[in-house]
Subunit: 313 residues, 2 copies
Amino acid sequence: MGRVVIGVDLGGTNLRTAILSPEGELLERHKEATHAADGWARVVERLTENIKRLRDAAMGRGLEVAAVGVGAPGVIRGDKGIVVKSPNFPDWNNVPLKDQLEEALGVPVVIENDANAAALGEQWRGAGKGISSMILLTLGTGVGGGIILDNKIWHGADGMAGEIGHMTLVPDGRPCTCGNVGCLEMYASARGIVQSYHEALGNRASGSPITSEQIYDAARSGDKTAVHVMEEMGRMLGIGIASLINIFNPERIVIGGGVKEGWPLFIEATRKEIMKRAFEVPAKRTDIVPSQLGDDAGMVGAAAKALEQARTA
Amino acid sequence: MGRVVIGVDLGGTNLRTAILSPEGELLERHKEATHAADGWARVVERLTENIKRLRDAAMGRGLEVAAVGVGAPGVIRGDKGIVVKSPNFPDWNNVPLKDQLEEALGVPVVIENDANAAALGEQWRGAGKGISSMILLTLGTGVGGGIILDNKIWHGADGMAGEIGHMTLVPDGRPCTCGNVGCLEMYASARGIVQSYHEALGNRASGSPITSEQIYDAARSGDKTAVHVMEEMGRMLGIGIASLINIFNPERIVIGGGVKEGWPLFIEATRKEIMKRAFEVPAKRTDIVPSQLGDDAGMVGAAAKALEQARTA
């Protein structure tokens, strides 16, 4: 019987599941609302049902599920199979997700932080193919990061590495939700862009809420404030990436998340800032590229982890 | 016959060599001036002579030299055995140091960047014993770095990783020798401390040169300006380390270099800033400790590389 894996992206909003071939072909997929507010017991139940349904579908195709990989937000101890805590699931405290799922499913399960899973997904099937050292930056509401070194995620001593969004960019800068001030996240995220726009408008602001998408549109239409805000965001991102290049000397930096939509509006400023600040050899060698898998990255990367698990088990 | 290794620290000023046992015991050592101005051919010749002399000494003790490790400043491609370029040896351009030494000596040779070698030395025999992930920061004239992850140096795609001194701390800060502005090196090095002191004195400055050591002494004697300069240096170092903790979640950060002399004058400010800025779990878990091996770290670490080479060869 042919062997496949199941990849899961357990997001705060959506629960995505898919069957993938060992070559990374997406054979079947499903998406539904997570309903995180139902509490962890019900979410794990729903997750289990979804995986079982896909496993039945695989069997119908004459395929055996060798392992399941789950990407989830928050602090994950993949080595212990535990979700330590998760911002989207307030009642998840040291949940032994791996054991619970393995008991319910009878197949090996691996769990991984969602940003790390997305990095693995991009490396396997997206913008990082053939690359052994890359950093994924997801510019969304916040800024997430996944660091791949020598083909492996660098997790750190507590599974908390990769918080690139919370490197300090401006020592006395904007207060961040993490408690620090001046984090990269406060300048290079959707939230940061909106804040910059409001600050730029100053007392000319109408007071009406504006979204990052509206700012991209305004910039595309030639609105000078919006153009400047996006260039400044690109410059700040470049300062952060230049530091990452000097620290890691990686092969590639992949940029994903919703802010990627504004790519042509910020990337020139980012590249210029990197060349101004980073050492020449690593700056020239580091490709800065957009992610390719979009919302599938986490699910695909979770499947990659599952595949690795199935191979080494 | 017992087997030993030879560790070499090929500095711009001093050339240090030693015989070390597989347990890291320093059996015999030698130090002389490098005379870098003599040019690479003569320096390599002198280096070879020094190693041969130590090898003879080892044989006299009934010990065989299994491998030689060399730490050298600059861009080193350890995988290729080449010194790409070195700030202290202007005429060293892609010198195949490993091959030259192996030919002259008839034993396996490994080469490594000096800051990386120092990190390995501290991990093996100093402040990083038993630690698998640590970052060494050497606060000297400049700021160097060595990153150990999973017991191995992270070299990066071009062997240029670990330039932690050149992460941007202040986007529009002091011009750095590297071409960037606001690098950590401009605030947390001996040079940075002297600059801060002169800036703090402003037009009250006598114009007479002052050294970082004199500033530590002044601070110890209660000179308010000097005390403030050292605390501010500690705070800036803390900002940089907080970012490293959020990025790497390492077990330990080891601080070496001449500025370590001023340890009690800056470390409280550093620790306070880290707790303010980094995530709580990794901030609490990361030990910030002084290096233990002093000027021997690079030589000892080079010997560690040699030992690894001898074991895997």
